[in-house]
C-alpha cells in the first residue's frame, strides 16, 4: 500500500514574523523556512507505518516554489522513499493544493494520504478535508492515534471536550494533530541518503489542474494591540480591583 504525505514549506515556527509596512503581506525576506510542524508529524507517522510493515512506500509531495525541494529532502531524511514536487510560482490556496493531491493520488494509486491538520502560515485547516471530498473518500481529521488493519483505519481524533474514535474504510485521508507522535531527529547519514532518493517534478498543467487563486488578500495588518494594565501589590488589591473597577466578580 502506497501512502502520500503532503508537506508544506512555511516560515519556521520559531521566527517572529512581521507585517510589511505597506500592508501587502508578511515580511518574509531572509527568514528561515522549515517544514510545517504538523506535516513533519505526518511524515513521521507514515514512516512508522512503513517500519511496522503496514505500508510499502511513502511518497512525500510538496506544492510550490523550487525551494520546496529542501522540504522534500527533509521528508526523505525522516523516512519518505521518494518525493514529488509540483512546482509553481502561483500563490497556492487549499482548494488548488487539494486538487493537485487528488491528481497525484490517482496517478500513484495511493490508498492513504496523511497531512498536517493545518499550516502555521495561513492557518486554514482545509486541505485534507477538501482532498477527501474531491476523492469522495472518508476523512479522519485531527488524529492523535492511527491503527491500520484489514483495509480500515481506526483513528482517534481530538475533538472539543475530548476524544472520538472513528473507523474509516480505505482509501482515506488522515490529518495529524500535535499528539500523534514526536518526529525523530534527522541524522546526518539519513540526510546524505535522502540526497540520492528520487524526486520527480511536475507543473500543475501536467496534472491538468487549474490552480488560480479564488480568494484575494486585500490587506494584511497588525492585530489590535492590547495595552498592559497595572501591577497590583497584593491579592487584596487584586480582589478589590476585580470587584469595584473591572466588576467581573
Amino acid at each position: 500500500m502506497k501512502v502520500l504525505v503532503a508537506v508544506k514549506r512555511v516560515v519556521d515556527y520559531n521566527v517572529k514574523v512581521r507585517v510589511k509596512s505597506d500592508g501587502t503581506g508578511m515580511d518574509l525576506a531572509g527568514v528561515k523556512m522549515s517544514m510545517n510542524p504538523f506535516d513533519e508529524i505526518a511524515v513521521e507517522e507514515a514512516t512508522r507505518l512503513k517500519e511496522k510493515g503496514v505500508v510499502t512506500e511513502v511518497i512525500a509531495v510538496s506544492c510550490g516554489v523550487t525551494q520546496c525541494q529542501e522540504t522534500l529532502r527533509t521528508a526523505m531524511a525522516i523516512g519518505a522513499d521518494r518525493a514529488i514536487l509540483v512546482e509553481t510560482g502561483v500563490e497556492l490556496q487549499p482548494l488548488a493544493v487539494a486538487k493537485l493531491l487528488k491528481a497525484l493520488m490517482d496517478k500513484e494509486g495511493a490508498q492513504l494520504v496523511i497531512l498536517g491538520k493545518q499550516a502555521i502560515d495561513d492557518d486554514c485547516n482545509q486541505t485534507g478535508q477538501m482532498l477527501a471530498a474531491l476523492a469522495d473518500i472518508p476523512q479522519a481529521t485531527f488524529a492523535s492515534k492511527v491503527e491500520i488493519t484489514d483495509g480500515k483505519a481506526s483513528v482517534t481524533r481530538e475533538v472539543d471536550g475530548g476524544l472520538e474514535t472513528l473507523s474509516i474504510s480505505l482509501p482515506a485521508v488522515i490529518t495529524t494533530d500535535l499528539r500523534l507522535n514526536e518526529p525523530r531527529y534527522v541524522t546526518l547519514p539519513n540526510i546524505m541518503k535522502a540526497k540520492k532518493k528520487q524526486m520527480d517534478i511536475f507543473k500543475p498543467e501536467d496534472l491538468g489542474v487549474d490552480v488560480a487563486p479564488r480568494v484575494t488578500t486585500l490587506k494584511v495588518s497588525e492585530p489590535p494591540k492590547r495595552g498592559a494594565g497595572i501591577k497590583v501589590a497584593d491579592v487584596a488589591m487584586l480582589v478589590t480591583k476585580l470587584k469595584t473597577e473591572a466588576k467581573v466578580i
Binding site: D123, D160, I168
Partner: protein
C-alpha cells in the same frame, strides 16, 4: 439569496457557538434585500435541538434532517446533507469548532469554491477579516466565488439571543448515508464546569504548576470558587499536567471570557493568540519579565503557590 448556518448541537440542545455564527450570518446578509438566515440541524432524535434552533433571534427557518447516522455529526454525512440544499444559499457558515472545521472544507470542495477559515469580522458580503500566522496578523480577504463557505471564530461575534425567535421548522429528507465512516465511541470528559469556549470566567495554569497533582491542588479550588472553567497553557498540557482539551492557544481553544486568570503562564505568543480577546485578564507570575504582563489588565508579581490560595480565601 438566503444564508445558511450549520448548527452545532448534541441532538438535545444547540451549542453556544451556533449563536455567534448566526450573528455573523446576519452581518453577511445586511447588504442584501430579503436575505433570510436559515439554520440546518442534522441530527438523530434531534427534535429538541431543532426546536431550540427555532427560538434563536434572527433566524427565519430551521431545516431539520433526522437520521440515525447523523448522531455523531460525521463529516461525510453532514456535508452530504448540506450539499443537498446548498444551491439555495449565497453563504454557508459553520462555527470554527472541531466539528465545523471538519465539515466546512468538504462542502466547499464539492461546490468547487474556496473556504474562509476563522472569520473574525464581516466587512461586506464578499469581504472578511481573518487571523493568520497564529494571530500575529489580520488578513482582509475577498472571495471571488459565487458561494461563500465560512467558518466563524466565535470570539469575533456576540451570540444571538437564544430566545425570542419564531422560525418555522421544516423537515428535510435525510440524504443517504455514505457508510464509509463509523463512530466507534468517544471519551468526552464529563464535569460540572462550564465549557471552556462558553465560560464567563476561565482560570488557567501553566508549566510553573510543576505537576498534575499540584495543578489540581492549586487551580481546582480557584475554579470552584469562581464557578470557572479550567484552562492550561500548551506547556502545561505537553508536560502532562492537564488534559489536551484544556489547552488555550492558537493550537488549542480560542477563548474570550469576561475574566481570564493566568497563573504561572509566561505568555508565549501562541497562548496569547488564544486568550487576548478576553475582557479582563489577570496574570499571576513571579517573573516580572513574563510577556503575559504585557497583555494583563491586572498583574500580580507573586509566587502562585502562595498567591492563588490567598486569592481563594479572599474571594
Amino acid at each position: 439569496m438566503s444564508i445558511l448556518v450549520i448548527a452545532e448541537h448534541d441532538n438535545a440542545s444547540i451549542k453556544g457557538a451556533t449563536l455567534n455564527t448566526v450573528t455573523a450570518a446576519l452581518a453577511c446578509g445586511s447588504d442584501a434585500n430579503n436575505a433570510e438566515v436559515h439554520v440546518l440541524v442534522a441530527g438523530s432524535a434531534s427534535q429538541a435541538a431543532a426546536s431550540a434552533a427555532s427560538q434563536i433571534a434572527g433566524v427565519s427557518k430551521v431545516l431539520h434532517a433526522d437520521a440515525a447516522y447523523f448522531e455523531h455529526g460525521l463529516a461525510e454525512e453532514v456535508a452530504a446533507q448540506v450539499l443537498a440544499i446548498a444551491a439555495n444559499y449565497s453563504h454557508i457558515l459553520f462555527p470554527a469548532t472541531a466539528s465545523g472545521k471538519n465539515i466546512a472544507p468538504r462542502v466547499a470542495a464539492k461546490l468547487d469554491v474556496a473556504q474562509l477559515s476563522d472569520v473574525t469580522k464581516v466587512i461586506s458580503a464578499d469581504t472578511f477579516e481573518r487571523p493568520i500566522y497564529a494571530g500575529n496578523a489580520i488578513a482582509t480577504v475577498q472571495s471571488g466565488d459565487s458561494v461563500k463557505v465560512l467558518t466563524v471564530r466565535t470570539t469575533g461575534f456576540d451570540p444571538a439571543a437564544n430566545t425570542g425567535g419564531s422560525a418555522t421548522v421544516e423537515a428535510l429528507a435525510a440524504v443517504a448515508s455514505s457508510g464509509k465512516s463509523t463512530s466507534m465511541g468517544s471519551e468526552i470528559a464529563k464535569n460540572d464546569r462550564p465549557e471552556l469556549t462558553a465560560a464567563k470566567i476561565i482560570v488557567s495554569g501553566g508549566r510553573a504548576l510543576g505537576s498534575a497533582e499540584k495543578f489540581n491542588e492549586v487551580m481546582t479550588p480557584l475554579a470552584d470558587k469562581l464557578g470557572a472553567a479550567l484552562g492550561a497553557s500548551r506547556a502545561a498540557v505537553d508536560a502532562g499536567y492537564a488534559p489536551n482539551d484544556w489547552q488555550v492557544g492558537q493550537t488549542g481553544k480560542i477563548v474570550a471570557p469576561q475574566l481570564y486568570v493566568a497563573c504561572g503562564i509566561s505568555g508565549a505568543i501562541q497562548h496569547l493568540a488564544g486568550m487576548k480577546d478576553s475582557k479582563v485578564i489577570v496574570a499571576i507570575n513571579k517573573d516580572p519579565e513574563a510577556p503575559i504582563f504585557s497583555v494583563a489588565d491586572y498583574g500580580l508579581e507573586a509566587d502562585l503557590f502562595t498567591a492563588v490560595p490567598e486569592l481563594v480565601a479572599a474571594l
